[in-house]
């Protein structure tokens, strides 16, 4: 019985390793967009993702706290602009997340 429990834990283990910061639909969408571009501002990301200002900024704050997104505030002319960029850690974390998801989903076969 104890052996069976260990085998089951080994099987589920990869799921536990998945980065929960990225594994949230809105944050995954933000990370995906920032992964394919060099940098973008808040307005561009808001238009592309369709998220509200509040939603987007709260998810960005979480990603910033995790060290995944660099946020730079500057002025373009007289208007404020929030420039967003994936940090090196963010890029690596996203690539690792992709690999892990591929492994996990690849293992989910119907036999």
């Amino acid at each position: 019985m104890a052996k069976k429990k260990i085998e089951s834990d080994d099987f589920i283990q990869p799921l536990g390793d998945i980065d929960k910061i990225i594994h949230e639909p809105a944050r995954l969408m933000i990370m995906s967009y920032l992964y394919v571009v060099e940098s973008a501002d808040f307005i561009f990301l808001r238009n592309q993702t369709g998220l509200t200002d509040g939603n987007l900024s709260s998810h960005l704050s979480k990603l910033e706290s995790a060290g995944y997104v660099d946020i730079e505030k500057r002025f373009k002319g007289k208007k404020p602009q929030t420039l967003l960029k994936l940090s090196r850690e963010g890029r690596e974390a996203f690539e690792l997340y992709r690999k892990k998801m591929e492994q996990v989903l690849g293992g989910l076969s119907q036999k």
Binding site: V36, V37, I43
Partner: protein
């Protein structure tokens, strides 16, 4: 999620959203339209020979450039936001700039060549020369630009602009100069401008001028 996230498609979607404003269409349409209308303005303003082509063409091209540049700066970017794409796109854009510079030089040489008298010694079938001009001035450069910009509509414009000279030649015995040029390039350029205006108005409706960004619940203060 029933389907995986295709990162290439996502990048393409983000990149192509930049062309939804119709400004490239307006820019290209205005340049072609200028070719047609320059003949008309040359007559209307009674400009001396050579200047009747140079001045209207120059004015038309400056207007096209201003529409594009000011439109991007004051209309498109405040609406869709600012984005910098990755190294692949940057490398493509650099190649495009080099190519456009070469095209610019070649066009100047082609423009000057008839005035030097060298072309009098070149024996080419007129219809063949027209096809070379159409393909060389419009079709090839437009297709290369379409490839580098990943801008599909430009392939169609390349085709229609390319046959412009050919159509002018066909209409010439019926309408005579300069009506043949005015009608052909005026029509092709006009249609492209209308397409550009359609995309532009659609863009304005889809992306109304946004309120300023509200990051972390705080509206950032403007300077001044």
């Amino acid at each position: 999620m029933s389907e995986g996230i295709d990162l290439k498609a996502l990048e393409k979607k983000a990149y192509r959203s930049v062309f939804n404003d119709g400004l490239w269409d307006l820019f290209i349409g205005l340049i072609i339209l200028t070719m047609g209308l320059s003949a008309l303005f040359g007559i209307l303003f009674n400009l001396p020979e050579l200047w009747d082509i140079i001045i209207p063409s120059l004015v038309g091209n400056i207007i096209a450039f201003l529409v594009f540049y000011l439109g991007k700066k004051f209309i498109t970017i405040p609406r869709i936001g600012f984005v910098k794409f990755g190294p692949k796109r940057k490398s493509k854009q650099l190649k495009l700039k080099i190519f456009l510079f070469v095209v610019f030089i070649v066009n100047i040489v082609l423009f000057i060549l008839p005035f030097t008298g060298i072309t009098d010694y070149i024996q080419i079938e007129p219809l063949f020369l027209i096809l070379i001009l159409g393909i060389g001035i419009f079709t090839i450069p437009f297709c290369v630009v379409a490839y580098f910009l990943d801008f599909t509509r430009l392939y169609y414009y390349a085709f229609f602009a390319g046959i412009g000279f050919f159509l002018t030649n066909l209409l010439s015995p019926i309408l005579g100069a300069p009506l043949d040029t005015i009608l052909t390039f005026g029509l092709i350029g006009g249609v492209i401008v209308v397409i550009g205006l359609y995309y532009f108005t659609r863009f304005l409706k889809k992306y109304p001028l946004q309120k300023e960004e509200v990051f972390n619940g705080k509206k950032e203060n403007r300077i001044g």
